[in-house]
Symmetry: C2
Subunit: 358 residues, 2 copies
């Protein structure tokens, strides 16, 4: 069902495809690094499995492989970036770099992005702040698959939020999560296995509960974090809305049901109010608040205390955000990255199409 590939092999292949799309060497490098970060961290749905999806967006002229990415409005601590329809994988690191530079100058930097495309995993971009002793924040809107509480209509994307926080001797705290009960990737795993999904993940076209992993294909919707009103799905709906507004409206991108879809074969929404999809990034210098040593000592104590929290009956220990992905990364960098045969076939087809080695 799956084959193992070395990181470098997948990286070089992805880079060769981005180069064939017309990306500069530097952009192909940046994009491949962002894309592969999903594969090494275990977010298999967002890595090389999406490479052919990016290619198709370029083929229908929705991705510009030679974008002029620039700041179109700014203050010392804020700015808006126009991605010029570039790959989100390239636009996002550019925007995050602006946020980091602003944080260097005035303590924090906040950048909203218009006219972009899907940027891979949010966590990768948030983590770019860590080597600078900064807290990194990344979020993005995405095409509508999620129904707000009380609705049957798809109005919001899975709109993830990532926050990366440096520690001292402990590894950093890294949270990266969709604002839905279940990410689409988890649904896809159960679809492939032909298994039902737990109640509270999806609803039918008319808004009734469902266990069908294929409900989205029938016009159903994903549910906001919380699942139903009794379990506070309105909070997941609010979180997804905040991500949508910070990413889409602060920047002048599209928002809500108007965010362009990732699959190139789905027609674009009518009467789109903005440009492309939107992201939002933040960087805060630790020493803009406190002595970094004091902060890191407390972060270490926080992490160590939470790891030691008494486990509930039937569980062995509490997990600190970022631990599972880091463990997967360590393993995959030595043992290789498992790729499903379906995805391997897809990559082979890309290799043939562009006459590159795989």
């Amino acid at each position: 069902m799956e084959q193992f590939f070395a990181y470098t092999r997948l990286f070089n292949f992805a880079k060769s495809i981005f180069l064939k799309m017309g990306c500069s060497d530097q952009d192909a490098d940046i994009a491949s690094k962002a894309l592969l970060s999903a594969d090494i961290r275990g977010v298999d749905s967002h890595g090389v499995a999406r490479l052919s999806g990016y290619v198709r967006l370029w083929e229908v002229n929705r991705v510009n492989s030679k974008p002029t990415i620039q700041i179109i409005h700014e203050t010392p601590s804020t700015g808006v970036v126009d991605g010029d329809a570039g790959l989100g994988l390239v636009v996002a690191p550019f925007a995050m770099e602006q946020a980091i530079n602003k944080a260097k100058n005035v303590g924090s930097g906040w950048v909203s992005v218009q006219n972009s495309n899907h940027f891979g995993i949010a966590g990768y971009h948030a983590m770019l702040a860590l080597p600078h002793d900064m807290i990194g924040i990344a979020m993005t809107n995405a095409s509508a698959l999620v129904a707000p509480t009380f609705s049957k209509e798809r109005m919001l994307g899975t709109n993830p939020i990532a926050v990366a926080i440096p520690a001292g001797i402990e590894p950093p705290f890294v949270a990266d999560f969709a604002t839905t009960t279940a990410a689409n990737g988890k649904l896809e795993i159960l679809q492939r296995k032909n298994q039902p999904v737990p109640e509270g993940w999806v609803q039918t076209q008319d808004g009734s509960p469902s266990n069908d992993a294929n409900e989205l294909k029938n016009g159903g919707a994903l549910l906001p974090l919380g699942s139903d009103r009794e379990h506070s799905s309105h909070k997941g709906y609010m979180l997804g809305s905040i991500v949508d507004i910070f990413s889409g409206i602060l920047s002048g991108a599209n928002y809500g049901p108007w965010v362009p879809p990732f699959p190139s074969f789905i027609p674009m929404p009518e009467n789109m109010p903005g440009k492309g999809i939107g992201h939002f990034f933040g960087a805060m210098r630790i020493d803009a608040f406190r002595k970094p040593e004091a902060f890191k000592k407390d972060m270490d104590q926080w992490i160590q205390r939470f790891r030691k929290a008494a486990p509930a009956k039937g569980f062995s220990s509490v997990i600190v955000p970022g631990d599972p992905e880091r463990e997967i990364e360590k393993r995959r960098m030595t043992e290789g990255i498992p790729i499903l045969s379906l995805v391997v076939k897809d990559l082979e087809a890309l290799a043939t199409k562009f006459s590159v080695d795989f």
Copy 2:
């Protein structure tokens, strides 16, 4: 079971109590306004019902009624405020004002607060940004009642997040929510009615599911938003953790299981690593990103489109965050604020104790 009181009457009473505690006239005014904002917006658990709780904290010297609140570290866009053990109801508006001033100067302002106490509802402080055409953000940590995913131990508070976003002809978007499935206030309502709580709100002392509204008194815990692992409670746990770290660790306040409890009779945690409880505030100028008219036009369209989202079977319409509280406020400002007889008795006892009129 309940009596109705005019806003002004409750405001004047609260102010007279804060004055008796030794607050300055200005501080008593600020505190009463923040406190009453909960009663008028329908968050009955956080308003005058807590007045005697604040008094008891002052009686045991945990609240300083004459604090010297000051910035102890800052950059152009960030800062840390020491609340000098003052009422959070007074410290928070001071810190939010600093964030707003920084946003006026450099586009955005971010202030973390140490050495504070409970600040009432987060939404009130976030909304202070709205008249300045800014987005306002407020969060706070609180004493540990919530068990992380896989744990039976109380490690986090209900750690609320509030985000207020201005619109044009539409009223502002205001989200204000605890990062748990159920806020403690909702639990208290069912306790008073002697009713069970839905599964997924609380767990027993050993981490098993429970429907008992009194489970917290038995050593049980509230559950993070998402309720269980299958419904992504790790996302609620991550959200609560981010609030804890931004509020407690960026500032040098206490965090996790060391946050001081609100009830004055509960002993303070041992080996507390910081000072008091922590908050975190943000303000972002709209025109630091985009022309305010363009932003507001899009916000109006967002709000109108979400109000019109097709309702699910059995529901009449989708709610835009902030709408319910604003409707309650409108009604209560004309019809009065309903106060439970138990709370009325509590306020009467306060009136007697301090020899003031109620």
